[in-house]
Subunit: 686 residues, 2 copies
């Protein structure tokens, strides 16, 4: 008792003397079971079936006709938009934004259309139909659906694998060269629309299953690494168009990109078209400078100049009057179909082969679109629901697959413009589609002489934003090593292998990292701060006091299978019971540490506040440690166990296998109990 | 002030009156910054490079010649075993156990040898060489390395894929039927030894990189589901031998097993060999009954009967004298090479094709072996080091690959016998190998007439233990739903697809589950228990008291990217600021809840004790919420933040973006500060 009384009295802490002199009954009250008996409620232990029944009953009873109508209308946000539409405030901004975005859609649609290896007009269809559908079902007035570089590239890979099948090649008069003909386009188009339908159906089913929450696993470092990696593929795909050479085909497998570059460089040396190269170079430089100037003086001129459209107009005019295609063999866009496509059922020929690419494209498109929508919603403080967005993307892809569209996604650059040019409601999409419809019906033949090099230039300049994400590496490197590793692994896998492999490896890595993070948590010895009820680690707070014969430990992570071996090893190490094997050859090892075993360890208190859950392995380990310590004459107390943890311990029969009074409400209670018990055996106390 | 004074005085808690009358200085001390200034230490912020340098320096300074020798000797546990060997106590048990296990090795080696589609003698080699190597490097005296059903099956699949290559088939006189000849065995043998070498090298490199800790990810439910699933494949592979039919080949892809069964049943109807079937049936039934009786009366007879060896002897004798092979076309073992194989370098022909199977086999073999070694070590309380075990398996596979061995692993049945028959030290392996060496040198020709059906019977009966693991499903179903899901997914994938796909899907699932577990944690409103400093959830402890104007919350999981959206939604829901959209059609929804907003919410206290870490997304969210609440005139306090969390908040400039005094040491401090502040504004208090 002397030892305790000499310690100075804390300001707010419970006085030790006071506590120790209290009756046993009070102290026992702080043992968890008594505490729960006194203050807690026993949860009614309903079976899962019973719970479901009650839930259904409750839900069903509150269903009225109006509610149903409301739920239905809630799925079509356009109604709310129309209901609250303010003609005076919203209309002007919406029209301006709609026209501006439509002007961006034209060059981008054609450029990304060629990226899919289909004729450019199909890109324009994708700029038209999904936008209308998104207007009806979408929630973000700023997100611009339509063509997107990475999705277009993935579509190209998917339809390539189908159209290059032996069975298809054989039907084309036996020669592969003939595949550039119109029937090859048909095969590709069928594959592309099937792909869009599959992507749409996958997204719709995700929405109906209310699995929108799954998008939280697509974390920022993952998406950043993934899109940056994919940008390199998009860039590579534009090199042939820029240099006027043929794109290498049939290169797959590991280290695809380096091998493609070898082929590309060979091709450039032998078949370069200098005129194409010059057009591309001039276009890129002018576009880049113009964009830079536009960004810089945006605040002064207050409008977004349609630079890309200007480039296209100039490029087409020059190409047409200098007859670049016929005289200098510069690749041009060529004949473009006029008018809107008639609705037709997508084919189901290659569903089996297209399913896996469709899953990948669905995942990529929704992850990019939703993360963009959420970013915009944070800026403008409106609510974006993952499930509703999934429904919108799903409907957009499904419906537009009947109109010869390939898969669509939200585009970062267009969304930024849609937001910046003053779009306020979902109707922006309607105005944009109106303009595009006019272009499709009347103006497409004008683009016939447009050089492909111009389109390549537009894509390459637009990649700038994605490549700027390389800076994220440095950001994550500084902030969090694990997030940096995730970024790097995703990026490297996408670059060295392929977009789809990168997606799956990146996702697995992100789950793995969540596991790894719990592997080597800190395991502290705690001590009392002055005379209060606060216990802090001896490492961070060296002035804390430890009681002789008592060790207070805290393991800063939930205890479960994956870190249980580490817990066990470290636990015994911290209480000085490491089972060190003696050296085989005698060795003069310098003894640097001095074992303070002047007082026998009698009590170990494990603060369980960091345990958010505990699994069967963890519970078994605690029982095992409890019994092992008991054999050595040491009592283990657990403190501050959460409900979840107590529940698992209960299922694992922890209370039957150990003593009932092992769990205390707070660490301080357990310490005070231990101190009181130690004082009854004066020999152990100094 | 009146409100607080009416509350009844707690037994041990800090009295509110007392607290509020205390000077401001005391209270401020409990703000975290002052607390850290007063008691804590600033960690020296060393760069990673500096830390590594110091660590290396420290390590290097303590290296002496004796230490090096000790480390080297530590890697060869046989030395320690020999040093402490007690001839009188250990020798007899070791010899008996060695002979018993060797007697088990003979039938199992031959049976599993045929399972790899190689001649049975190669199984005997695997029962011989790896055992010797494990004796030198292993740590468990009870683990019996050698042939193992699942590894043998996976070896069969790997070498099948190589030996069935067109290039190999063409060299065999153009006919596939010729492949059963000796040159086909050569190709398979080359592939098998290459595989063993690769597996060994992979395991060795894991050991050198000290990656033994990775085995913790192979959790119990995963291993149980995996091995049970693999057992169905092993069972299926034995049906042809049992019925005397040819095994179906070249079936791969999804739903492999059902398709194999269709083929098998067709084969059985057309080509069944009734004598084989009878032999198999009789063998299985006798063996099963004999094993059952042996298990039951083990305690009385106190020896393990070599039932399988007896079966083999009887089978061989009957087959030889009735001339079953020549007269009834019963498949028999046939010519067996006599003597030990001469060492030869494994070929490196198909390294590229065998690498992926080798990784899978390495992972499966080490996971099964280590989990078995750990199970045995728990029973006999000796220490098994993962890295040392990896070294032992790696050396065993690498060295024995030079002696025509295929990959080995620990066997559950033999290990149980090795333990049960009294083996005490690593020398058991030596005695077992001695017996097997004699058999290989002298007795192999005797097994020539052994029917394959007998070997199939031995394998099938030995699968009993693995199939009994089906009960684990019920166990996990009762204890933990997530572990049950992991078991089921692993089992189903292995059964429906294949062993390797199941391995990867199961592993991914287990990581995914670790992530999912943190997705929807409980989010509690806390209240004060009587008048103490203890705060408990209002759900589990309904008698707790809440202060008007103050809300105390606790989110029972670390806050990071994957659960940040859930946190945000739930947080605003709990403080009653849910952004509910009004219905589009007016609807008579029954207002069931009554919003108690008679007192304005002024303080929100978030107890951060469950946050074991927080990532950038989580930190950003906290800053965002802090600023959002400030706009609404609400103050957010964080309490009980761990060092890790404070560190991340610091990096994310939390203190610069919020006010300095946001973090309190304990929840009680924050509550008392808030109460005191509220009392200074009497209007908000009733």
């Amino acid at each position: 008792m002397t030892h305790l009384q000499t310690r100075k009295e804390g300001d707010e802490g419970i006085s030790n003397v006071e506590f120790c002199t209290r009756s046993d009954e009070t102290r026992r009250n702080r043992r968890l079971q008594s505490f729960v008996d006194c203050y807690g409620v026993e949860k009614p232990s309903l079976s899962t079936f019973e719970q479901t029944k009650r839930y259904t009953k409750k839900k069903c009873s509150s269903v009225t006709f109006e509610c149903c109508i409301n739920i239905l209308l809630k799925r079509i946000p356009l109604f709310r938009c129309l209901k609250t539409y303010n003609l005076r405030k919203d209309l002007f901004g919406d029209i301006i934004a709609g026209i501006t975005v439509a002007i961006m859609h034209i060059p981008q649609g054609m450029a990304y259309g060629t990226l899919t290896t289909l004729p450019p007009v199909y890109g324009l269809y994708v700029s038209f139909f999904p936008v209308i559908i998104y207007m009806i079902f979408g929630t973000s007035p700023h997100l611009s659906l339509g063509t997107f570089a990475i999705i277009s590239l993935m579509t190209a890979q998917a339809i390539d694998s189908v159209s290059f099948e032996p069975s298809n090649i054989v039907t084309q008069n036996g020669t592969i060269a003939n595949l550039t003909g119109s029937s090859s386009v048909d095969i590709k188009l069928h594959a592309a629309t099937t792909l869009a339908l599959l992507v749409g159906l996958i997204q719709l089913s995700l929405s109906f299953l209310r699995l929108g929450f799954l998008t939280v696993y697509l974390t920022e470092p993952f998406i950043s690494g993934f899109t940056t990696g994919a940008a390199t593929h998009v860039f590579t795909s534009q090199i042939p168009s820029a240099f006027g050479i043929r794109s290498p085909r049939g290169i797959n497998g590991a280290f695809k990109l380096p091998r493609i570059y070898v082929k590309l460089i060979q091709s450039i040396f032998s078949h370069i078209n200098w005129i194409s190269t010059a057009i591309a170079a001039v276009s890129i430089v002018t576009l880049y400078i113009a964009k830079y100037l536009n960004d810089r003086y945006k605040s002064k001129i207050r409008i977004v100049l349609p630079l890309e459209l200007v480039l296209i107009v100039i490029g087409t005019t020059v190409s047409h009057f200098l007859q670049l295609h016929s005289k200098y063999a510069v690749a041009v866009v060529g004949q473009i179909k006029r008018g809107l496509p008639a609705p037709s059922l997508p084919s189901f020929d290659h569903t089996d082969k297209l399913l896996v690419p469709a899953i990948t494209i669905a995942a990529v498109s929704l992850s990019i679109s939703i993360s963009m929508a959420k970013m915009l919603s944070r800026k403008h403080t409106y609510k974006v629901s993952s499930n509703q967005e999934l429904l919108a993307y799903g409907m957009a892809n499904t419906v537009s697959s009947f109109f010869q569209c390939y898969p669509s996604a939200g585009s970062l650059s267009r969304s930024a413009v849609q937001e910046g040019s003053g779009g306020r409601t979902l109707l922006v999409g309607g105005f944009s589609s109106l303009v595009l419809g006019c272009v499709l019906v009347a103006l497409t033949p004008l683009f016939q002489s447009l050089p492909m090099a111009c389109l390549a230039a537009i894509i390459i300049v637009n990649l700038k934003g994605l490549f700027l994400q390389l800076k994220d590496f440095m950001l994550y490197f500084r902030i969090s090593k694990l997030e940096c590793i995730l970024w790097t692994i995703t990026f490297v896998t996408v670059v060295l292998f392929d977009v789809d492999i990168g997606l799956y490896v990146g996702l697995s890595t992100s789950f793995f990292i969540n596991t790894v993070r719990t592997q080597r948590p800190r395991f502290f010895v705690l001590g009392q701060v002055d005379n209060t009820g606060i216990y802090k680690s001896t490492t961070n707070f060296p002035s804390v006091q430890q009681y002789p014969g008592i060790k207070i430990l805290r393991f800063d992570e939930s205890l479960y299978a994956c870190n249980a071996p580490f817990f066990k090893r470290k636990f015994y190490e911290l209480i000085g019971m490491e089972t060190t094997e003696e050296p085989i050859v005698s060795c003069r090892r310098p003894e640097t540490f001095d074992t303070k075993t002047d007082v026998l360890l009698k009590y170990i208190i494990l603060e369980c506040s960091p345990f958010n859950y505990i699994d069967t392995v963890g519970a078994k380990l605690l029982i095992q440690i409890f019994n092992d310590l008991k054999k050595r004459g040491i009592q283990l107390y657990l403190t501050e166990c959460r409900y979840e943890v107590r529940h698992t311990l209960d299922i694992m029969k922890f209370y039957e296998k150990t003593e009932l009074h092992t769990i205390y409400v707070t660490t301080h209670d357990a310490v005070m109990t231990a101190v009181a018990a130690l004082n009854q055996i004066p020999t152990t106390n100094n």
